[in-house]
């Protein structure tokens, strides 16, 4: 996919704040992500990582400041703009990505819903449309043989791979992955992150991943954004992270997460 250098950045957040009731969950956020950049978001629980993702997706509205995703102001989304944005932004959650009642092929083809009209989508439930596309995507995640399986027949890692296959079919310009690997063990997690990065590299998509464990940072990401108590605490390259920074960032959680056992510069 060719990237238009002059188009607005995929994510541009200026002084944004989000409140739930009286509580400020995010405050003074200033983030900009370039085309094709692979960004990891880290931070202790309750730092506002998920809310940041919801803010970028437009699911949470900024109480202050301005958020533009793929050049569109998320506070004023409707009609055609909304439809286009939803087509171009792909989600990957920790779990419940798939509809358990639909077979793998239908779950994968949901990536095409933004391009189909309703009768075709309904007919697809009976006679899957663009089956070749689904097959290709499933081959890329090595699940082509589970085309007709139900999600409950798959393991957790396989389910996440099906969700990645859906992203491949959707071909989004921006992928928001909210803790995609927290429910998986390290090996499977590495596999999923690898697939996501490959997707970003091959199709030129911009990737934002919210990570709970830091083992997967190195080598996969261009930039790390560290959130703490609703503010951007630190930004930089993965190689620049050190123990001192992590201790300050995670505070009480530092030992619980066994971060001190990580091989990092002290």
């Amino acid at each position: 996919m060719a990237i238009d250098i002059h188009s607005p950045p995929p994510v541009a957040i200026e002084h944004a704040a989000v409140s739930y009731g009286r509580r400020r969950v995010l405050d003074g956020i200033q983030v900009s992500v370039a085309h094709g950049e692979r960004v990891a978001v880290i931070g202790p629980s309750g730092a506002g990582k998920t809310t940041l993702f919801r803010l970028i997706a437009g699911l949470a509205k900024p109480a202050e400041g301005r958020v533009a995703t793929l050049g569109r102001d998320v506070a004023r989304l409707r009609g055609k703009d909304l439809a286009r944005l939803r087509r171009e932004v792909g989600f990957l959650h920790q779990q419940d990505n798939l509809i358990p009642q639909l077979r793998v092929v239908h779950n994968v083809l949901m990536g095409r819903l933004g391009h189909w009209w309703l009768p075709r989508a309904l007919w697809s439930l009976l006679w899957p449309q663009e089956l070749g596309r689904a097959m290709q995507a499933l081959s890329r995640v090595e699940l082509a043989d589970r085309l007709w399986a139900l999600p409950d027949e798959l393991s957790g890692g396989q389910q996440q791979r099906v969700a990645v296959a859906r992203l491949i079919v959707q071909q989004p310009r921006l992928v928001l992955a909210d803790e995609p690997v927290s429910a998986l063990d390290l090996r499977l997690g590495r596999e999923i992150i690898g697939l996501l990065c490959e997707l970003a590299g091959r199709d030129g998509a911009t990737l934002l991943v919210n990570l709970h464990s830091l083992d997967l940072l190195q080598g996969n990401f261009d930039r790390v954004i560290a959130l703490r108590a609703g503010r951007v605490y630190w930004q930089g390259a993965p190689a620049d992270i050190n123990q001192q920074l992590l201790r300050e960032l995670y505070g009480a959680e530092y030992r619980a997460l066994h971060l001190d056992e990580m091989a990092l510069p002290a």
Partner: protein, 654 residues
């Protein structure tokens, strides 16, 4: 798709055909329904008749918009409404009281309990399957089978048929209606209670048994509390249903609003009918809202109990709260309503001619003084149904010979042998032969309620799926939370309006009972299958839209987020519908079962088929024939119940 893809597909297993088979079955059922009985669509297709129907509808609407609001008639309608309410309350109370012991008998877990290897001990670890279902293996098992048979009969004979029989015993009046409702609801409640109790996982009350509790103790301390919320919820739904049925059972002599509506329709006093229907709606919609509210409270309790369970709060545990008074308040309220109903039925009622008070409880005394049972003796002939055996060559030889001579005996292969099964002519000849046998004709008449129920349910389900979208709060009010949309105020107002309109349509569709819909459609389109089918479809639409909507709105909003750019409508079709589909189909099959019974009832009031034949023969004192139709009715319900159970499609009150 390339060739490589095709090869890969062939390697990667077959396309599952489940949905095609389901669609095929549905198409077959619809085709069978279309060809098994004669549909007269002329009322809808013929331009002139359509115009006539439209004119009648217009006249009726005009009358409905100018109801008779004279103070006298209003007071009369109000009295009738209260009479209806009291009949429904008494009927439900009686049914609950009778259903408990019956359900305890019919529930395997309660009545038979833990089966030790007894006299018929089997050496196989799982026990002999045949033996486990053999009713004569123990006295308890026999009791269980007998209770199930009794509950099937009570349930299978519709309340309208019970009313027809009771009218002959104790005369017209609201008490007749109440008793008829009670008999039918007893069967339904007993079935559902026993299924709910049997559905409780045995390991959950195993400790009561291990403490040495007998069958009764296991039931009272183990099974009953575990199922109580579902039992209560289902009882409420039935009570609501009883109120709707009480409002129409007057059509066959059960008193209340129905008798007056039927009376006024015969006189064509549409303004009065309009008033009465308004009062019916007032009653049923109030019941609807009240039951919704209470069921909401029950659900809330369950949610709170579930959320409270995992936390052990030491501070809160230290303070022992007194027992909650709410169950006692609820109990007190129920008792007060029942006492009021008894009083009203007996002494408070002034709905008779000229405001004269009449004790409607008095006929009940006849049940005890034995006069009514003398009347019942009159019906002994019902119990010796006509089987018309000479027609098939069984019975006294002279009778058989006489039938043969008249050419009215079945000689199946007279014209075509069994080898001719490929020729359509052979089939119609065989059918003509079979129709000479009365029992065959009785069985054939069951095709009418079945066809009405199939077509009506399919129409109702399809309409409910469409109506659930505007009916759903998730998609109309809260969609911004999963679609990122910022809707301007006018758009939100517009969606709110759609929601309100959809909810109003659903409420009216279910608030008006099937029988009343049938009255209306018969008045518009003339008696026949079309009117009955539309009536069933309309009521099904209302009932199902509510439960369909609940199934969608109970899904967490988060489930609708990852939809890859699908529009709101697409999200409904591709995410919400698949998520709720299983629940929907359970409800739909349950509704189908009840629609078959309803279609029999519609037959009584002029739609035709089984119900009509029963009523016709009963009114002409041909009780033997009426008895045969009654047996067909029971068989129809029992067969449908068993086959739905076998397909494991019915799960009530989860």
């Amino acid at each position: 798709m390339t060739k490589a893809d095709l090869r890969a597909m062939r390697r990667h297993g077959r396309r599952p055909l489940g949905s095609f088979i389901a669609l095929l079955m549905l198409a077959l059922a619809l085709l069978a329904a279309c060809f098994a009985v004669e549909w007269d669509w002329a009322a809808l297709t013929d331009a002139q008749r359509r115009a006539e129907a439209a004119a009648r509808m217009g006249a009726w609407l005009a009358a409905f918009l100018s109801p008779d609001l004279s103070a006298e008639f209003l007071r009369h309608s109000w009295d009738l409404t209260l009479q209806t309410l009291s009949a429904a309350v008494l009927g439900t109370t009686l049914a609950v009281l009778l259903a408990w012991p019956l359900a305890m008998g019919a529930s395997r877990a309660v009545c038979v309990g833990e089966e030790r290897d007894g006299f018929f001990a089997s050496r196989r670890p799982q026990g002999n399957v045949l033996l486990r279902h053999f009713p004569l293996r123990s006295p308890a098992a026999l009791l269980c089978a007998a209770c199930r048979l009794l509950q099937d009969i009570l349930r299978a004979v519709p309340d309208f048929v019970w009313a027809i029989i009771l009218v002959a015993m104790i005369g017209l009046g609201p008490l007749t209606g109440a008793l008829a409702l009670a008999l039918n609801i007893t069967g339904i409640l007993a079935k559902v209670y026993s299924e709910l109790w049997d559905g409780v996982d045995e390991t959950r009350y195993a400790q009561v048994r291990s403490q040495g509790g007998g069958r009764l103790a296991t039931f009272l301390y183990g099974i009953r509390p575990l199922a109580s919320r579902n039992v209560l919820s289902f009882t409420l739904m039935r009570a609501e249903c009883a109120i709707r049925n009480a409002a129409v059972i007057g059509a066959v002599g059960g008193g209340g609003l129905g008798s007056e509506i039927w009376y006024q329709i015969r006189f064509g006093a549409w303004d009065k009918v309009g008033t009465l229907i308004l009062f019916t709606l007032l009653l049923t919609l109030t019941a609807d809202l009240a039951s919704n509210h209470v069921r909401g409270l029950l659900r809330g309790d369950a949610a709170r109990a579930a959320s409270r369970a995992p936390q052990v709060d030491a501070a809160a545990a230290a303070v022992v709260p007194g027992p909650s008074l709410r169950p006692w308040y609820a109990m007190g309220f129920v008792i007060a309503v029942v006492v009021w109903s008894l009083w009203f039925m007996g002494w408070g009622n002034r709905a008779g001619e000229g405001g004269a008070s009449r004790n409607h409880l008095a006929p009940a005394a006849e049940l005890f003084t034995g006069k009514a049972w003398d009347n019942l003796g009159f019906f002994r002939r019902l119990l010796s149904p006509e089987l018309d055996l000479p027609a098939i060559g069984i019975g006294p030889p002279e009778a058989v010979a006489k039938r043969r001579a008249e050419g009215k005996a079945v000689d199946l292969f007279a014209q075509y042998g069994p080898g001719d099964f490929r020729r359509p002519a052979a089939w119609s000849a065989w059918l003509d032969e079979l129709r000479k046998w009365f029992v065959w004709r009785a069985v054939e008449s069951a095709a009418v309620p079945l066809a009405i129920a199939v077509v009506g349910t399919v129409l109702g389900v399809a309409a409910a799926i469409l109506l659930t979208y505007p009916h759903s709060a998730t998609f109309q009010l809260l969609s911004g939370r999963f679609s990122s949309e910022t809707a301007p105020p006018w758009l939100r107002a517009w969606r709110g309006l759609q929601l309100a309109a959809a909810r109003a349509v659903a409420m009216i569709a279910r608030g008006v009972p099937e029988v009343m819909w049938a009255f209306l459609f018969i008045a518009f389109f003339g008696p026949g299958l079309v009117a009955g089918t539309l009536a069933i479809a309309a009521h099904t639409l209302g009932v199902l839209t509510r439960v369909f909507g609940e199934a969608v709105d109970n899904q967490p909003l988060r489930r609708f987020e990852p939809t890859c750019g699908a529009s709101r409508r697409m999200t409904y079709a591709m995410v919400a519908v698949p998520l709720a589909w299983r629940d929907w189909m359970t409800y739909a099959f349950f509704q189908f079962e009840s629609n078959v019974r309803a279609a029999v009832v519609l037959g009584l009031i002029g739609v035709g088929g089984l119900g009509f034949q029963f009523n016709f023969n009963f009114e002409w004192f041909r009780f033997e024939r009426a008895g045969t139709y009654l047996i067909v009715m029971i068989l129809l319900t029992v067969l449908i119940d068993r086959s739905v159970r076998m397909l494991n499609l019915s799960r009530v009150g989860r």
